[in-house]
């Protein structure tokens, strides 16, 4: 036991010394996450606002002017220019100067005043479907509300004339948003980005670390010592697990202070899930290293794993909107489960029972990946 601890300490200490000596590595491990989280948190903003609109007002009435002003009032849509006709407006769309062309036909004000069906045409640039649907919804919602209030006013007028009271039937939907009341995407994105960063750092660091030993020849020197593979692997991985936990703390701090992310979760759940998750990512790194002969290959392997992991995690796009055959694939993605735990815990304050499933999956994944990596390690290195 004492011997095993001495071996473990020797490996871990050496790993720390090498890392501390390597300034670029220190920067990668500690400074990069802060900057990346800050930048990505802002950049990965799925909120759509300030959609540029080019207006074609053939009507030019008071009514059209009032409605346009009110439509642009909430900032979702922004008027970027006027066009004399629909053709010119469409060319503005083609050039990317605007994403929406709003055409108000002649007689719009008249139609509204006389109670006839008034028409407004919205031409949308569908190349960014998300933006197009947000713009369409904003325009639709505005005119639907306007239409309803017009109808109510008209009905009340007629009732007054008839000397009776009349009320239009009215259905009102009241939405109350829980957990992220301002529907702030940064708050939703930060846990996801943190999970991705943690994976990037730990997977690549552990893959490159082992590949370097192999490339330089120190691994052969280690293999002629009586240190068991499990101790060697554990010793190499522990310092980076500590760095990972530290980075996780940084991520929470940046999230809370910069993005006003709520910190609802139970610290125990957060730490447990992070440890389990780091177990998987570091294990994957080792696995990649056993398949690569050089650091370059290890680095490339890390990226080949990272890219699909990030895309199939549900962080950027909801898993439910992926094609059905692709969805089961996300189940073997540690990033998906960890992001689920983080969002659940941090944003919703979900506890251990609510998150038991993803936590259990992470634990099983960690065991499988580490077990397999150790076996591969022994087989690959004994050649």
């Amino acid at each position: 036991m004492r011997r095993a601890l001495a071996m473990l300490a020797a490996v871990a200490k050496k790993e720390v010394r090498q890392t501390v000596r390597d300034r670029r590595m220190m920067a990668l491990l500690i400074v990069a996450p802060i900057i990346q989280l800050y930048v990505f948190g802002h950049a990965v903003d799925l909120e759509v606002d300030r959609v540029p609109v080019v207006v074609v007002d053939h009507d030019g009435s008071d009514a059209s002017r009032t409605h346009l002003a009110r439509l642009f009032a909430d900032g979702t849509l922004v008027e970027v220019g006027r066009a004399p006709d629909a053709g010119t407006a469409e060319r503005a769309l083609e050039r990317g100067e605007a994403a929406v062309a709003l055409v108000i036909p002649p007689g719009f004000g008249d139609d509204v005043a006389r109670g006839r069906t008034a028409r407004v045409q919205a031409v949308l640039d569908g190349s960014d479907p998300n933006r197009a649907s947000v713009a369409a919804a904003a325009i639709g919602a505005y005119f639907a509300t306007e239409g309803a209030s017009l109808a109510r006013a008209r009905l009340a007028e007629r009732a007054a004339v008839a000397g009776a009271s009349a009320r239009a039937p009215d259905v009102r939907v009241e939405t109350r948003v829980l957990f992220n009341p301002r529907l702030d995407t940064a708050v939703y994105m930060v846990p996801g980005v943190a999970a991705m960063l943690l994976m990037l750092i730990t997977t690549i660091v552990s893959a490159m670390g082992l590949a370097r030993e192999r490339e330089v020849g120190t691994l052969e020197q280690i293999l002629v010592t009586p240190v068991p593979a499990a101790i060697l692997i554990l010793g190499k991985v522990l310092p980076f697990a500590a760095v990972g936990l530290f980075d996780f703390g940084i991520a929470l701090a940046v999230g809370a202070f910069v993005f006003d992310m709520p910190l609802h979760g139970d610290v125990g759940v957060l730490v447990l899930s992070t440890v389990l998750y780091l177990g998987v990512t570091l294990g994957v790194g080792l696995l990649i290293a056993t398949h690569s002969g050089t650091q370059q290959q290890a680095f490339l392997g890390g990226f080949l794993f990272m890219l699909p992991a990030a895309l199939l995690s549900g962080i950027m796009t909801p898993i439910r909107s992926m094609p059905e055959w692709l969805q089961p694939l996300t189940l073997v993605n540690p990033l998906r489960h960890y992001a689920e735990v983080l969002r659940g815990s941090l944003l919703r304050g979900a506890g251990l029972e609510a998150l038991a499933e993803p936590l259990a999956i992470l634990a099983v994944m960690g065991l499988v990946v580490f077990g397999y990596a150790s076996l591969r390690f022994r087989a690959a290195m004994m050649k």
Binding site: A6, Q18, P226, V227, M382
Partner: protein, 313 residues
Amino acid sequence: MSAPVIEARALRKEFGGFVAVDDVTFEVGRGEIFGYLGANGAGKSTTIRMLCGLMAPSGGAATVAGHDVALAPMRVKGAIGYMSQRFSLYRDLDADHNLEFFGGIYGLSGKALTRAIERAIERTGLSAHRREVASSLPGGIRQRLALACALVHEPAIVFLDEPTAGVDPASRRDFWSLIRELARAGTTVFVTTHYMDEAEYCARIGLMVDGRLVALDTPRALKARYVPGTSLAISGRGLDGAMAEAAALPGVLAVEPFGARVHVRFREGALDEAAVRTIFSREGRVDRVEPVEASLEDVFLAVAGEGAKEAAA
């Protein structure tokens, strides 16, 4: 020879259909310097890797420090030190930290580790370089540090796989005096090299040709067997023309150019210096004629030649 500390019996290693080590049998005694020679690819490193527990033999058996290499590789690893031609150090760490790491993974800790490091530093004369980063050390010093790392846990046996490859001659000589001191103190040294002058330091030598151990003996006995007779070295000018004539002299076994000189080897008892002088003086100018001892290089060439002949037959 005392009880053997390394014992290989009919050791064999195959990779696919290729036989890298074939039926190798030898013993090495305690405190002996055993040289393992052969061309690249002759099976030297494969033998060492099996003896170090890095690779399981395909056939035969070997025990190192009393442990079977196939059954108890971890015990073997704990009892030996290993240094390869690549001087596998952590170049970004200083000498002390390298030693601390290797001592640690052999299970040393606390005071025992500190003492072991001190002793390894002292033995290899590295006290002036303890805080220097390995990558900034000159080749000879770095090689000594690699040896120190292989010795830090004070193993009974060290395996040195081409430890002097790529090191300058002065450092090689220093290194070999270290190795001889080690052996005098009781450490068994198993060393491969392809510098034949270094092989002269070995108590016994095994010669590998194409995976087979074709010769095994002391340097002196090997010379007597493979390069028998007595040789004369002739120095002078214009000696080449008379070589064929010298070869026809009675009792002459071989005439070979050797640098600027010519070596003429006679069967034992057939030495005829006067005849040699006469023949070479006829064509050119003879400055000096002196007896020379056969070198291990001659042995190696003779053995490798035999192996090649066998292979052709």
